[in-house]
Point group: C2
Chain length 178, copies 2
């Protein structure tokens, strides 16, 4: 995709709807991918994102050691790959190769962007105070990319056990909310 730089001040609008994301990490030069649903915005600008990554995940060690990751947002066409990534471990397989996903270089962090995802957020760990108790990381988004042709992304929203809601109709109401 021919991604464009996306303003950090608008990043919240990508994550606030609650999509499943693919998180890329890099550890000793080896990139990995995990599927993640437990994340929330915490601040508008600079954009802060809170997320829980299970200590059982290979990505947990990579994120804790490198303090960098990329949050990639997939759409419904990638559903089968999203589940495949979530059901396999980077300890055993190269998920980029296995699921036919394309790694593209990021600008400010070592982990790669996933080209097939319509948005990519380069992140650095900003606070690890709650990692020991809850596996909860506070990330700062330092650079954002978007595929500008995707106006109404059909994001995936996980209800558990492989059941996903696909983003449906968009409605606009008069609001003073940001």
């Amino acid at each position: 995709m021919a991604k464009k730089s996306f303003p950090l001040s608008r990043v919240y609008g990508l994550l606030e709807p609650g999509p499943v994301v693919l998180v890329t990490t890099a550890h000793k030069g080896v990139a990995n991918i995990m599927t993640m649903s437990w994340l929330t915005m915490m601040e508008f600008e600079p954009p802060l994102v809170g997320c829980v990554i299970s200590g059982r995940n290979h990505s947990f060690d990579a994120l804790r050691a490198s303090r960098e990751c990329v949050i990639n947002i997939p759409t419904a066409e990638l559903a089968q790959k999203v589940v495949g990534v979530g059901n396999s471990s980077g300890r055993k397989v190269d998920k980029f190769a296995k699921f036919g996903l394309t790694a593209m270089p990021a600008t400010l962090v070592a982990p790669p962007l996933i080209d097939e995802c319509y948005a990519n957020l380069e992140c650095k760990v900003a606070d690890s105070r709650l990692v020991n108790k809850y596996n909860f990381f506070v990330l700062e988004v330092v650079k954002a990319w978007i595929e500008p042709s995707v106006k109404n992304p059909r994001t995936l929203h996980h209800r558990g056990n492989g059941v996903f809601i696909v983003a449906g109709a968009t409605i606009k109401l008069a609001s003073k909310m940001k």
Copy 2:
């Protein structure tokens, strides 16, 4: 609605898709409602929920003082009320009266359930270590209720500035993910 008790072990499936919620609090006997989108699951069981509530909100003081709230999940029919609640302050108006929402007693906490919402989660503050820095509360869900007739809730997912995605089609993929 004729709500039924809902297993705490399944609560994550209600919040993991990222719906906008209405949070009720009670302070000195007065109930209030706020609209919230910045929340994430943090643990399956007992279910823990992390959420950010701006210090500018009247509900922030109520939650910090009382350490109790209810997370109520609305569906698309309530969209106009969700925006109305988000655009007004409990300092000035009784939002239950103004928006025609019905307060029902909770069982384990003082703030009321909103009857019109298809699911209600009674919560207590479990950790307030990140409140000062990020307005971030960790809540434990202590009791959950659901309207069993709502099988595929048309939840709302906020993209910012009053633009909402409505939950669309549901897809089920073979998965080992919880």
